[in-house]
Symmetry: C2
Subunit: 214 residues, 2 copies
């Protein structure tokens, strides 16, 4: 069976998004800078149907992540930026158009029930209304021998950690202080971690931990 792996980019001062997220700026003020390390990578571009791009350690780490995953879990805000009933959500179809980069089932944790949406390229969005444990269990089932990626945002990641559902946590530390925004760790979790790997480039530092079950 695969692992449940949380994977997220965080500024050195602990933020996974800037303040005041909007439809135009879904990662909040300054939040796009968190992901500057990723959008030029060959493996990220390939996943998005683009040619070219950089290779090197950051690309290797991202490719490893993509290749290992058989299913994703994400929060409603990461899916659409919205909240409340779907008919009032301007991005109810998600951010990614007809051919999203996931190429696997994505379990979206939400309070608002909805039929599964099938996209091109193997991506489907399954809307889970009975909580995080159910979402992870369904994702495990769908992933088979591959990993389940907890893709964010902060709230879903915290809930998974607190529920003891995360086997490994990979944090990509962006070399900047955002100063304000949404903290990855704001929930009072306590945990002992075991460093598995650390590597980086001038653009980002990748920290991977095994989470010890308490």
């Amino acid at each position: 069976m695969g692992l449940v792996v949380s994977d997220i980019t965080m500024s050195l001062d602990g933020f996974v998004a800037g303040p005041n997220a909007t439809i135009e700026e879904p990662l909040g003020e300054g939040g796009e800078r968190l992901h500057e390390w990723i959008t030029g990578l060959q493996s990220w571009r390939a996943e998005h149907g683009l040619e070219g791009g950089e290779t090197g350690p950051d690309d290797d780490v991202f490719k490893e992540f993509v290749d290992a995953n058989g299913a994703f879990v994400m929060g409603r805000r990461m899916f659409s930026g919205g909240e409340g009933p779907w008919e009032e959500d301007a991005k109810a179809d998600g951010w990614w158009g007809d051919d999203p980069p996931f190429k696997a089932p994505v379990f979206v944790v939400t309070h608002h029930a909805r039929e599964t949406v099938e996209k091109q390229g193997g991506t489907s969005f399954v809307f889970v209304t009975d909580g995080i444990e159910s979402a992870v269990a369904q994702a495990r089932e769908a992933a088979g021998d591959k990993n389940v990626a907890i893709a964010g945002g902060a709230s879903v990641t915290q809930q998974c950690l607190q529920a003891g559902l995360v086997d490994e946590m990979q944090i990509h530390v962006a070399p900047l202080l955002l100063g304000d925004g949404v903290r990855l760790f704001d929930g009072g979790d306590q945990a002992q971690l075991e460093p598995v790997r650390v590597l980086g480039s001038p653009a980002v530092t990748h920290l991977k931990y095994r989470v010890r079950r308490g």
Copy 2:
């Protein structure tokens, strides 16, 4: 001229001390766990007059830090855990006895004036009441060609960062989530950083950044 280097240990969730610090538990509840990586090292033990200890990457990093420094800057709470007038401070002589490990001048930022205290082994404690810029300037003067270490705690480190006084920042990331305590980054600073080095062991991860002046 040497560099001004901030050097501090932080939990992965951003804390440099646990909550509710006391004289008995100066690093707060659970805060001692932050420093588990350091107290077994050969170079730390040697600095404290002890024999033996572990060698390896963590020891190399700590030795490099010690060898590079010609002066230290620290906050009053790091020096004694106290506040207010010195005659009411139970640890007014500091935590380290007659032969402190610094072996160099230590500039303590405080609101309460006091004569310099000379200790054995080259350590002196100089009490600076006219602010962080003055403390760093005096430490630079004392350090000559060597580095000035901003040794903590969080408040002094934040003040130095915000005042643009820090050339390099080394953060030792302890592999644990403390859940509560004193955050290193809580002041709304914004900065762009440049990763200089990343390395680690199962006990800790060392991140070193150059701070770009804005």
